[in-house]
């Protein structure tokens, strides 16, 4: 039963990935004063399926004889699927005790398939993309961990259900709004999206780490990236808005976060690489550490007050 519901969830997520691409294209097109896909069948609603069919039926040949060439993207996709185990929907309520630790573990594991993919491509441009991507992802892994550590301090537990309990009085978006922006920035970096998609700078690099991938193997990379995007939107909604999974408000705020993440792509320009690194190590990290110390003192004060 568990496996059946998990497979059902994965199918739903992949379907939503298909429509997320259409969503993104439509929003971007209207932000740039043009019409997006609006022809296929009903107002361009079936455009993602057409794209998918195009990708599947494209000619495929392996550029590398190493098996890791086609296992790497599958590994990436597999890790994204594992990440979605965190989502306890109504048919699969696996409220694991150390859910937060599990999530952090899988999120830090996300770097390795990229490493495999770009190394096995045997291409200088892929290697350059790899170096940029890995350094930025690992730098911001520290920040993401500290932010989640702050949440662990707030709720004093590893379960997600405590997040809902602690947000009954006031949402964390109001109480800890600096954390929201920090987490948004670090998640965008983790997802390699604009304004931090430095692996895809057109003038310097061609296409980042997935340069040698196309047709059906590219589907895995693409799906994994967009599944992560959906997941991060879910995480933001749970952590900061505190609605239960089955409410309509959860869905609304989920879409709001998704819209925000897509909209940033249409608004902001790419930032410089040294600025990014400076922002990580000199500004955000210091700010986060000060915030942690401040919150620790507050908790100490509360404990002194009550015991």
């Amino acid at each position: 039963m568990f496996i059946f519901s998990y497979v059902l969830l994965m199918i739903m997520v992949m379907l939503s990935v298909a429509f997320l691409t259409l969503f993104e294209r439509k929003i971007l097109s209207y932000m740039q004063c043009r019409k997006g896909p609006n022809k296929l069948l009903f107002k361009g609603l079936f455009q993602p399926f057409s794209d998918m069919l195009k990708l599947i039926f494209k000619e495929m040949f392996y550029l590398s004889l190493n098996k890791m060439f086609y296992l790497g993207p599958m590994f990436m996709f597999y890790i994204s699927c594992l990440l979605w185990l965190v989502y306890p929907w109504i048919y699969m309520n696996n409220n694991m005790m150390y859910m937060m630790v599990y999530m952090l573990f899988i999120m830090s594991l996300n770097v390795y398939p990229i490493l495999i993919i770009s190394w096995i491509s045997m291409n200088n441009y892929s290697m350059m993309g790899l170096m940029r991507l890995i350094s930025q992802m690992i730098s911001f892994e520290v920040l993401i961990f500290l932010i989640f550590f702050m949440f662990l301090m707030i709720i004093e537990d590893f379960k997600f259900i405590k997040l809902f309990i602690y947000q009954m009085d006031s949402f964390f978006i109001i109480m800890y709004f600096p954390l929201y922006f920090m987490l948004l920035i670090s998640l965008l970096i983790d997802l390699n999206r604009v304004p931090f998609d430095l692996i895809e700078g057109e003038s310097e690099l061609v296409s980042g780490f997935n340069l040698e991938y196309y047709s059906s193997l590219f589907i895995y990379i693409f799906l994994s990236e967009y599944m992560n995007l959906l997941f991060m939107s879910m995480i933001l909604t749970i952590f900061f808005f505190g609605f239960y999974y089955w409410t309509i408000m959860f869905n609304l705020f989920y879409l709001m976060n998704l819209f925000l993440m897509v909209m940033i792509r249409g608004v902001l320009a790419r930032i410089r690489y040294d600025c990014l690194m400076y922002m990580c190590w000199m500004e955000m990290l210091v700010l986060m550490l000060f915030y942690l110390i401040y919150f620790y003192l507050i908790k100490e004060f509360i404990m002194l007050l009550n015991f």
Partner: protein, 150 residues
């Protein structure tokens, strides 16, 4: 030349509106200093609320722990009772199985006790194999090993 299917994307009726070339100055509704102010205000109002929730959860935690402590003697007693019943059952089955065997005494090895220096009526906690020696493996309660399953 084939005709295009469906409606074409034509310009709107009065033509396109002229392009916006002048620079639009960004509206900054919340500045950095205001952000610090909001942060202080939110913390002053929010931390008592957080303290209330924290205390409530603390009470729940203490309640759950005392609940466990209160039920623990009953659970231990039930455990002992079940063990004794099982031991009695094992003795009965052993007597039944070995009734045709000559010079066999139940609970001993041909009259020789397991522990030489222990008194005859001393209770010694049975090991796993002793307790379940005449039991079908399928009869074991599932709750004993369910925590090992995924």
């Amino acid at each position: 030349m084939s005709k295009a299917k469906g409606p074409q994307d034509l310009p709107p009726k009065g033509g396109y509106i002229p392009f916006q070339i002048e620079r639009i100055k960004l509206r900054s509704i919340v500045t950095g200093k205001m952000g610090i102010g909001i942060f202080i205000a939110v913390n002053v109002i929010g931390m008592p609320l957080y303290m209330r929730t924290w205390l409530r959860e603390r009470k729940h935690l203490i309640e759950a722990r005392s609940r466990e402590l209160a039920t623990l003697p009953i659970l231990f007693a039930e455990n002992d009772r079940r063990t004794l019943k099982q031991l009695k059952h094992v003795r009965e089955v052993e007597a039944d199985v070995m009734k045709d065997f000559p010079y066999w005494e139940v609970g001993t090895f041909f009259g020789e006790p397991i522990y030489e220096d222990a008194q005859a009526d001393t209770y010694i906690k049975p090991i796993f194999g002793e307790l379940y020696v005449f039991t079908d493996p399928k009869d074991r309660p599932v709750l004993e090993h369910i925590h090992l399953l995924p």
